[in-house]
């Protein structure tokens, strides 16, 4: 189906990309349907970024970050209520993403590790879960000073030295 996004333009999305949020999101309780749009990057197996686009509101787009790509020690306990509402379990492990905030520059991007988004990819149900964990906040800096941001640089990753 076609959906409109103010930031991303006209998008063609398939059913598998559309997730139902039974409780919307805190701050957006009426927003129940979003399209999940991972960033395509031919050099990576697993995308680190994605967009979450509201189906009904073209102006509502979230940037998502794979928390484990930047915080390998990130861990979360999924409570019973969340398992019930989202239909997830040990046999149906959810996809986990966190919402990013970009105020001015990408390098200052932060993510909300305190309230990750969980996606049941078998039944296309999703929700935001608030963790009971004082280690995490709503604003974790994604990029450290040493991280390298590239737009179009040539490859040290494809070493062909002999």
């Amino acid at each position: 189906m076609k959906i409109s996004s103010t930031r991303l333009g006209e998008l063609e999305v398939v059913q598998e990309q559309i997730f139902f949020f039974p409780k919307g999101l805190p701050g957006f309780p009426g927003e129940r349907k979003f399209a999940f749009l991972p960033e395509e990057d031919e050099s990576e197996d697993k995308p680190m970024f994605a967009y979450l686009q509201s189906i009904s509101n073209p102006a509502l787009t979230f940037i998502l970050v794979d928390p484990f790509a930047f915080f390998p020690a990130y861990e979360l306990v999924i409570d019973d209520n969340t398992e019930l509402v989202l239909g997830i379990s040990g046999n149906n492990v959810p996809m986990i993403w966190t919402i990013a905030t970009v105020k001015d520059e990408i390098k200052d991007m932060t993510v909300n590790l305190l309230a990750p988004l969980l996606f049941n990819i078998n039944e296309n149900i999703a929700g935001q879960m608030i963790l009971d964990d004082s280690r995490y906040t709503t604003k974790h800096k994604v990029f450290s000073a040493e991280e390298v941001l590239l737009e179009t640089e040539g490859g040290e990753d494809a070493s062909t030295e002999s």
Partner: protein, 71 residues
Amino acid sequence: MLVLSRKIGESIWIGDDIVLRIADVKGDMVRIAIDAPKEIKIYRGEIYDAIIEANKVAAMPKDITLPKIKK
């Protein structure tokens, strides 16, 4: 919205499964005991408000290009 006053030791039922009890009051601090089924999530208000705020700020991203990261 219901607004009411309770003394220490008194309680409030919400639905048939949730009870709030005023356990103690000391100065401006009120201690509350909450009995609820474990499926019901209970959050301190400032935590929930912080999530709402974070979502609202995050929902207005500037026009940006997502970076290509070398890992």
